[in-house]
């Protein structure tokens, strides 16, 4: 069994109380409380939870762009500072990539230049890096669109660009926050298949957050179910479907119905 890459221990999050005259000094409610889990190196972990379960907040804390209120995080053997906003290290030295819900492409950069952005600021823009970018662009079917600006691309193409923009610089762990939520069902299936193809190339450690149970089963090695607020881990399921998987026919595979039913029962 591979080593643990990330461990989240008793994590808690409450947002600062609004200055509300009527409520007085009532403490802010916990969005996340006592949340613990760990991810193995090379594992594809999916996290399912209802809307407003604090899924994005959890990923923001792991990505170090938001602070936690309690608990600790151990990444790659070292404890990471999570409480002090000034001590945050977004993407901890480029080892944690983050594909957000919105594609957050730079509108003034073409597809290719968006994909190359991280390599450029990291000073790693050599021939080898360019070749890798071109390979990824071809793999997800964006060849021919290298010079297009984001506003000239479809929603699915923008998602693909956002995805390979993170994959291209090869961070050992990638967080994904419902990256395919805003596209139509057919495009989503295609994007999921693309993601699995790309994942098979490198086997990164992925934490993929979604509210779609089918997506969680289709992609993950293991699925965690979050409770409603305050969020905790309500259940854990190992996905028994062997790889490589055909995302399009995932419904028909043996074991799918049973695991889907079990997860659905756990999602409140």
């Amino acid at each position: 069994m591979a080593a643990t890459l990330l461990e989240v221990r008793a994590l808690g999050k409450r947002f600062a109380q609004r200055q509300d005259r009527d409520k007085g000094r009532e403490p802010a409610p916990w969005v996340i409380k006592d949340l613990s889990f760990s991810v193995r190196d090379g594992e594809f972990l999916t996290i399912v939870g209802p809307s407003g379960a604090g899924k994005s907040t959890l990923l923001n804390i792991i990505a170090q762009i938001d602070i936690a209120s309690a608990g600790e995080i151990v990444f790659d053997g070292a404890t990471v500072s999570t409480r002090d906003p000034r001590a945050l290290r977004p993407g901890i030295d480029r080892r944690i990539g983050y594909v957000t819900q919105d594609d957050n492409l730079l509108p003034w950069r073409s597809t290719l230049d968006n994909v190359l952005f991280a390599l450029e600021v990291q000073g790693r823009l050599d021939a080898q890096a360019r070749a890798r970018a071109e390979m990824l662009i071809r793999t997800v079917g964006l060849a021919g669109f290298e010079r297009y600006y984001p506003h000239e691309l479809s929603g699915g193409m923008r998602k693909r660009t956002a995805l390979i923009r993170t994959l291209v610089y090869d961070p050992p762990m990638i967080l994904m926050d419902e990256p395919f939520a805003a596209v139509d069902a057919q495009t989503r299936t295609q994007l999921q298949a693309d993601l699995l193809t790309l994942w098979e190339l490198g086997r990164k450690t992925i934490i993929f957050v979604t509210h779609d149970i089918t997506e969680a089963i289709a992609l993950g090695d293991r699925a965690l179910v979050l409770s409603k607020q305050p969020s905790r881990i309500a259940a854990e399921h190992v996905i028994p479907i062997p790889r490589p998987r055909n995302v399009k026919d995932i419904f028909a595979l043996p074991g799918f119905a049973a695991i889907h039913e079990r997860i659905r029962a756990d999602v409140q």
């Binding site: 957050n104 003034w108 600021v121």
Partner: protein, 268 residues
């Protein structure tokens, strides 16, 4: 916005139609002008035809070109001298919101103050030559561009900054690759408003006291009860504004190809 990039681009038919309608509006203005001059007499209000002949005459003998050149040089120098610090300042103060807050009432005061009333002071300080006109123009341009740039820097999408941080970008790289490009549309909007004001300010400063420039031409025309020359100079100033605006449009189209063509879609 006083002057804009309104250009119908949807189809050739609409484009032609717009050109024809514009010509009709121009004809209407000329007809009203002609009627007015017939009504009150050419002594008080010169006719369009007389203005046109004088305009051509002044172009041919080089007078109009020479005076326009002075006005344009003053407006151009003032735009650069006022515009450069106005763009730079909000970037330098980006990480110092307290200084921005301290400066704010003074900037608002500078923006709102009737700067043309300062023209006599500038004449006193910088003399009757071009320097006083440049000073007035710069003071007009500075405040307009400062507030436009400030709005651009503030309109920055924090998610793009977070994305860049996670990718490993330094503060300097973020300023250059994220903050600067995202403020460009606002900076342009500022200059688009400021440039016609700059030409107007130069002309008015010349009106008060000068020995050259379009304002001087207006002034000498008025002193000699020569309304034809006054109108010829005003027409020249208007054409300068149009030329400057066309230049801005071309520059903007070149620099902001990445923007979705939303404007033209809404206009036609």
């Amino acid at each position: 916005m006083s002057v804009s990039a309104i250009s119908p681009t949807r189809s050739p038919a609409i484009r032609w139609r717009t050109h024809i309608d514009r010509a009709l509006v121009l004809l209407l203005i000329l007809a009203l002008w002609q009627a007015g001059s017939l009504w009150v007499g050419t002594y008080w209000l010169s006719s369009p035809w007389a203005t046109t002949t004088r305009f051509v005459e002044l172009v041919l003998n080089g007078e109009l070109i020479r005076h326009s050149g002075y006005t344009l040089a003053e407006a151009g120098a003032g735009t650069l001298i006022g515009g450069f610090p106005a763009v730079l300042l909000p970037f330098l103060l980006r990480r110092h919101p307290i200084i921005v807050a301290i400066l704010d009432p003074f900037m608002v005061g500078g923006y709102g103050a009737p700067k043309l009333a300062f023209a006599p002071l500038f004449l006193l300080w910088f003399g009757i030559g071009m320097e006083s006109k440049i000073a007035l123009t710069a003071s007009v341009v500075f405040f307009i561009v400062y507030f436009a740039t400030l709005a651009g820097v503030r309109a920055l999408d924090p998610r793009l900054v977070q994305m860049a941080q996670i990718a490993g970008a330094s503060e300097r790289q973020i300023a250059r690759h994220i903050v600067m490009p995202s403020a460009v549309p606002n900076i342009f909007a500022g200059f688009r408003i400021a440039v016609p004001y700059a030409i107007g300010a130069a002309v008015i400063a010349e009106l008060i006291s000068s020995n050259r420039g379009l304002g001087y031409l207006v002034q000498t025309g008025a002193m000699n009860f020569d309304t034809t020359s006054v109108f010829a100079a005003i027409v020249a100033a208007t054409l300068l504004v149009h030329a400057a605006n066309a230049l801005m449009n071309a520059f903007e189209a070149l620099l902001m190809r990445w923007r979705p063509p939303l404007q033209s879609m809404m206009e036609t």
